[in-house]
Amino acid sequence: MKTLTLMLLAAACLTNAQAAGIKIVTTTTDLADITRAVAGDLAEVSSITTGREDPHTLTAKPGFIVRARDADVWIRIGMELEIGWEPVILRDARNPTIREGTPHHIDASAHVLRLEVPTQRVTRDQGDVHPEGNPHYWLDPLNGRLVAATISERLSALYPEHKAKFEENLRRFERDLDTRMFGATLVESLGGESLWKAAAEKRLEALLAEKGATDKAGGWYGTMRPHQGKTLVTYHRSWVYLTERFGLLGDLQLEPKPGIPPSAKHLASLVSEAEARKVRVILQEPFYTLKAAEFVASRTGAKVVVVPTMTGGAAEAGSYLEMLDNVIRKVSAAL
């Protein structure tokens, strides 16, 4: 019995000695990557999900509880994406510092631009509809930028001694993101802030024309610009932020309603709709089966593109920006 007590005591000391950096636990890998970009060496960041699974469902394993117990800061996507598992982990971890509503519990959706916020009562017969809007917001690079700003702001409030560093890192991340989005030339001449402001107000083309920079558009914006107005089919309604940002039409899904599996009847009507609208691409994440997509592809001549929407979902998606880059490259190549 004495040996056991000593062992437990030693183990407890070990966990305390590891408190070198700020321990941040995020629910998703994209959040972890953005947090690493903002916090740099000042924090040890880990993610509950790996980027390879469907983020809606997860088993709250004992290992997650231990990580949450030791966390100084907890960051989630929010908008009820993690509602199936986050409350269980937080409850069992008994870490009063990171309970929902405390300053150390960060909801990354605080300032993002939300799409598909329901205007009527949400019921089960609509499928798995989230009452606060579509939670897959990180596929819009602007939202990634806003999330980084939120994290920087919240971490600076918690650790004011590091505020300058967080903000310096944030600027670097923003420059990196802006350059990938618009191309170096545009960012240098017009600045990321004004480009994003115009994009958010849907007057980017007008701004470029005004500045005589229409032919200087590079980056993801330049790549996707020729495809504006095209329709694509997706498995789940997880791509709306991408299609909205890049002027594509993403209202056709293999699922008849969110979370309901593709049915033969729905796929049959989808085929005729896809043909009428000249759909060239069927887009889905790697964890879904290919049967439904291949069914529609064989009857319409469209191409099936499987690409992860989360960091870590594939080797090419090693960081948040690389994940977006991989998506843009593969989608534009197929369109």
Binding site: T50, D54, T59, K61, V66, I83, D92, G259
Partner: protein, 302 residues
Amino acid sequence: MNEEGAGFEEAVLQTTSLPYGLTFSGGKIKSGIGRLNRQHAHAWDFLDAPLVYRAMFGDEGLSGDGVQLTWLAPTPFYLLFGTEVFNGDNEQSFNVSDAAEMPQHDAPRLYTAFLKTGPDLGPNHALQFGLSALSGRHQVWDEDAEAGVSGESRIFGTDFVYKYDAKRAHGEGDWTVQGEYFYRDQNLGDTVGAWQDMPTWTAQQDGYYVQSLYGFLPRWRSGLRWDQVGLINDVRNPEEGSLSCGDSYRLTAVLEWKLSEFSLLRAQAGRGWYATDDGREDALECALQWEVTFGKHGAHDF
């Protein structure tokens, strides 16, 4: 809800911010012993409870009015200690007789202790072990004989669960194995009525189950469960003297189809071989279930 009407399965008050990793709950609670006991019936993988649960705790499991204190130890791996104090009124193992001749004991009459632990095996695997111990008063009153016994009832249990996460949509490729073993030792020496001065009523009995489920397609799972009770089944009571009763066992298969996130269909079939007074009887059991969840999106425990 059952034949006797509607009632609360669990009505709990639980603390959320005690220090040192402690959580305190009180009310009408389900005991944290074992694996299955804490789960509400709708979260089970099979339609019914294993034989060992029905024999030791009854169809509703071990629950009652009580308090629970659990402690998440500050270890680098998951380690949870728990202890409970119940009024103690479980027909199978911790019975309180209301016969006038029986000695009346004040509550609390049942104490439990348990631990759960599991290593972190990475993103695809999860494993957890548990140990449980229960000790409480148990009373048996025989109406016909106008006699009864009162004494101690002790149960020791161990459990494990392993889950594999294939990281595909809707549980495809996911696999789980789970099992529990319970041993009960009853020593009822306080004799009353016609059994006065007769030897102590004793019983040593055990039981276990092992089950496994596999997601062979998205939204589809199939499973198999092996149930056995009475490998140890020694009873000595005043009426019949010393008996060594046989064991009963059962094999059950289940098929589950998740229609959506909020409703599922299950078909279950089993073959049981039960030891009865007339020898071994076998039985075929089939059942269908349609489960719908209402209300806000639920979150399930591990």
